[in-house]
Subunit: 196 residues, 2 copies
DNA sequence: CCTTTCACATACCGTTGGTATGTGAGGGTA
DNA sequence: TACCCTCACATACCAACGGTATGTGAAAGG
């Protein structure tokens, strides 16, 4: 009775499951995490977990959505700080490179995501969260004549894949020079799109 | 006594496990495949599987190595048919795009691979099988002055990731126009590297 | 022919994801 | 305030799976 009623407690439990699930999925990987560990860390039982989520994969999906939202938000914030559409594209891409090197993002979003949910569903989530912004930015640049007119979907996937893999590599790299070199190479890649 | 001795039978059993494992991993995905299904399809028991492999992940690793060898061989063959170093790079990249759309390659090498073996080990295998060739081709082109001098590792990962994701997308795409558009976009990307 | 080895088969175990059922504290209603 | 229904879990349980320990019969070696 100290704080709010049932709804309060419900949300609190759900957040605890998401928090501990995310932490364990990120550190151990999806396959190596047992639900017993998750519920023990969250201070509840399996009954609570199955009351909030449909199963292990559903919990992971909820965690993944949360991670993707955070990444998309960070990328969008960085991009929107720029005025020029072209500068927004470049800044957004580099912001994604940064975000992708975080351990949570790396393991949950880039490594386990496609395998657990299947590539198609993972793609749908990624599309809704961040790839859509990339496609929109490219479309705007094409309409403005900055980039040669061409189908955006292939370009989106090529760039998205390039950044995903690069982020994965950078996350395991110790040489800080690699980040600068990758940014430079990515910039050159993007720059090549400007000419007709 | 009809055919060769033990060694013959041994190899036969091993190949049967690899064949059925590959088929099931490709169609159902690693997580959805039970070892009982594999051994039943191969006509042996779990004893045989654990006599040949250290476990489920080891079987998957052996299957993955086989898939990667095939892809690398196909890519190398296509590339080596070209005389010009630049033409070899372009032909090799497009051959990889083709190979990556095969269902086996898609599921085993691109989706489950990183999650099952971990990204680092998956990368090591990929490096040994195909990414090394890409890096060598880029190095040769840099030494020849065709591409501006720059670190090859970032470039390799950007291109490798771009092609992986593109292949994944193309595998699920129904529009045959997408393949042509992707090849065109990839060609433009590669072309952009020529200028200094 | 005898023995050893090898390539499996059989039987079994612990753990894990998932389910079915119990329960006690809200919280609306009279 | 007494009642009671609902909801947010806890408890108890199960089937299936990966993995292991042990048995076995045929092939190689002497």
């Amino acid at each position: 009775m100290r704080d709010g009623g049932r709804a309060r407690q419900r949300e609190q439990t759900r957040q605890a499951l998401l928090r501990e699930g995310r932490r364990l999925f990120a550190t151990l990987g999806y396959g190596a995490v047992g639900l017993s560990e998750v519920v023990r860390a969250a201070g509840v039982t399996k009954g609570a977990l199955y009351h909030h989520f449909d199963g292990k994969a559903a919990l992971f999906r909820a965690v993944l959505e949360q991670v993707q939202e955070e990444v998309a938000e960070e990328v969008a914030a960085t991009a929107d700080a720029q005025d020029d559409p072209w500068a927004r594209l470049v800044a957004g891409c580099q912001a994604f490179l940064n975000a992708g090197t975080a351990p949570d993002v790396r393991q949950i979003m880039l490594v386990d995501g496609p395998a657990v949910l299947g590539w198609a569903e993972w793609r749908a989530l990624d599309e809704a969260a961040s790839a859509r912004h990339l496609a929109e930015a490219l479309t705007a640049l094409i309409d403005a004549g900055t980039i040669a007119r061409q189908p955006v979907a292939p370009l989106t996937h090529l760039l998205s894949g390039a950044m995903n893999e690069a982020a994965l590599w950078l996350a395991g790299s110790e040489d800080p020079e690699d980040l600068a070199a990758t940014r430079a190479a990515l910039s050159r890649m993007l720059e090549s799109l400007r000419a007709a």
